[in-house]
Amino acid sequence: MTAYSTIGKSIPKIDVKEKVTGRALYAADLKMPGMLYGKIVRCLDHAHARVLKLDLSVAAKMPGVVKVLGPDDIKAHSYNTGVLDLMVPEPVGKMLGDIEDQTVFTKHVKHQGDAICGIIAHSEEAAERAAEKVIVEYEPLPVYLTAEESMQPDAVQFTSLKPGNRAFQLPGEMFPNNAYGWGNVDEAMAAADFVVEDTFYVPKQKQCQMEPHAYIALFDDGGRLQCWTSTQMPKCVHIKLARMFDLPMSRVTVTQTVIGGGFGARLGMIGEPLACAMAMAVPGRPVKVLYTREEDWIASESRHPGKYWMKIGFSKDGAPVAVDALFRSYKGGYYTQGSGVAFTTGSWLGGMYKWGSCRYHGETYYTNHAPCGAYRGYGNPQTNFVMEQLVERACSKLGVDPVEWRKKWHKGVGDDGWCPGVTYPSCALDECLDRGAAAIGWTEKRAKYANQTGVKRRGVGVSVMNHTSGAFPMLLEHTTCTARLNEDATAEIMLACSDMGQGAHTALQQIAAEALGFRFEDIHIKAGDSDSNGFDIGAHASRTIYVGGAAVKSACEDARKELFARAAQYLECTVEQLTMRDKIIYLEGASNRSISAQEICARGVYNFVDAASGQRTGIPGQIQGYSSFLPTSNSPPFAACFAEVEIDTETGELTLIELVNAHDVGKAIHPASVEGNLEGGAQQGMGFALTEEIYYDKNGLCLNNSFTDYKMLGPSDMPKLTTILVENPDPLGPFGAKSAGEAGIVAPIGAVANAVFHALGIQIIEAPITAEKILEAIKKNGGV
């Protein structure tokens, strides 16, 4: 193992002191001189309607109101809050059919919470009171809550650009028969010794980041649009706002505030278009727009729910000879990430096992729910719930141990990953399975729980997953970084990568320190400022350490190269003869010949012409390393998860006993952060499997838009949690790192579902697996 100075150490994260005192500034904490408050008036009583009449006259006369804005008052292009349009070449985008179907305010309400108009006032309260005086008349339209309803020929069209309300399907121009995969699935399936098949339901899960969305926007007197936001993609928001308001990017600034959690909720834009549109209406005045929790719930994006059909064919020896799948999701009212999730859901499927042949269809239809967008895992949780339960069913038929089957048939080094043609550079999944199985006592418990009687039944289940480290090669991957050395030999590392709370900036600082050969405390990460930071596509696809970290490493190596080149000149030797310890550069074998990094940096900046000799006092110029980094690789992480549950067969109540999550992380740059990500992911994954779903009544109105009614696992609901970091440095990732951001959510889903199967001998194919569904399944089964 290479000895590192900071890599692999869980030093206190750089932002914890300001967070533990509450002094970290989130967008809602900011206040500016002359600040006004913007309130968005939303449609709360309908999920699908046309606005027949909008009367703002009474609201406009309310005390404290500065301006009222309806749809016709907005001068901005329509937009898409998602970012896929920026991530693929234009012809591909056209083929995929990415569209801009959102407007600041709408006359066609497509989901409860759609924005109708806005009020700008001197106080939040004045804006709220005026909002109550807005008169809107609606013509209710039929409400579609499933794809099967909205695809009917007589259904109201959400947009003329998407006939039949089919927002997306894999395009035939790219994928014959609108499916991707390999081999002849029909033949292989027909020749299979047996098949397993079912149609599952996957839930509309909410990110529930703790910080509600909040913004300040200002169209300043210099004609620049400024926006303070906790977006996880500042540079995408930068160009999107510029395009939307017809401004050059040099006249738009995005300042990223501390991010109070994201999990995809802040991927792309959310309320920035609304806040900025209001600010454009009152030049010179900052406008603050705060989302209430309820607004956050009904108006911001969630996971894609829907029906997921899958069929897997096996030969007698257990070989998975064919997999065939269709994920048909319910898009919600707007397109957003329409092409993305429908696409990647199948990527994780194709990348997991050595399928003899594979065919995946992905499509999504408009429905009258809050729009679906990005949520941690981006289709992988859905696939895990379905694929891993079907694999379990097959193992049961084959009479083979599910751990052994997975060890035999999972993909590994050299196999195609999530994108055919791009192979896995590393894989430690076998070790994850072995260590996880040992930690939970797999063999003993599988035997012990095999023939239970009695009211309470226990079960243990396993699941595996692959994810991604960045979006290469499918989507644009690019991060720029500048490493500027100060004259005292400390460094500013400037890049637009986001820290969403996962500890990314600390890990990037560790990478910088290691690559420069400086101390951790010599480094400052300057992020979140679109004026001083170069391009970065943003925090998505678990890319920040793998791609952002590589950009930091490359920029720092560039700076270090110049530092050493100058040292070689001063010491009259070649760079190959030099080593650095404690920021002093030595000529090897001649301990009396050295120069400090500080002297080189200082002489570069404070560089004078000597009056006597007319010569410069040293090598001039401030040292600055730069990298505009576009990766040429992807090193996905793997994981194995084991869950133990106990089920009361009389009440259906399920108790989580234990969860062991073993992750192949390559190299953990900051182990405590990696563990923290995986533990938080586990809470969300178990929630997907057991408790979390946004429910709607038949009119499309949300029934559980609060933390009381939307059930997440609380501290007492959590099982004993064991996180195992399997470190097997990846040959291509920076310092061997692979991703760990999203991955923690995925495998617990299948593991919990399979533990239920082990306990009851019944599979519940609709998530979340609630007590009601368990009882119903037991009843349907005629008992257990």
Binding site: Q209, E679, G714
Partner: protein
């Protein structure tokens, strides 16, 4: 809305402010007094991000507390726990145990922990988890928050022993 003048002692400092009868303590702390360390997460008492301490050790939800009812009372916020740049043992424990990710729930978690340890100086795992109910964290899965509370109990015990 009827307004009245109230006096609050916040983090040891006596402050007088005009409040409307319907204003919550959270709003007054954040808007009137500029103390934004107390967070709005839901406004309905379900997430605990707005937790502050009443009279030093009792955690209350400032979003459900009317400011006018707090006239003359002592309030402590997360920023007030730290003194002269020195973190309170509970805060230090959250730092030591990596109990902080996005940080939005953290001030409330810290306040809640002070309350738990005031009632139960040496809590079991179960008591900690039970005590934390009502404070939601979406980042950590609570694992490192529970270990932070345990560590806080140790640090507090060390501190009492030293005094």
């Amino acid at each position: 809305m009827k307004k009245c003048e109230i006096t609050l002692t916040v983090n040891g400092e006596q402050l007088t402010t005009m409040v409307a009868a319907n204003q919550t303590l959270l709003e007054v702390l954040r808007e009137n007094l500029g103390m934004t360390e107390t967070k709005y997460g839901c406004g309905t008492g379900e997430c605990g991000a707005c937790t502050v301490l009443l009279d030093g050790t009792k955690p209350i939800l400032s979003c459900l507390t009317l400011a006018a009812a707090m006239d003359g009372r002592h309030i402590t916020t997360a920023a007030g726990l730290a003194r002269d740049g020195q973190l309170h043992p509970v805060q230090q424990a959250f730092v030591d145990e990596s109990g902080i990710q996005c940080g939005f729930c953290t001030p409330g978690m810290v306040m809640k922990t002070v309350g738990i340890l005031a009632r139960t100086p040496n809590p079991s795992d179960e008591e900690i988890r039970h005590g934390l109910e009502g404070n939601i964290c979406r980042c950590t899965g609570y694992a490192k928050i529970v270990s932070s509370v345990k560590r806080a109990a140790e640090l507090m015990a060390d501190q009492s022993a030293a005094e």
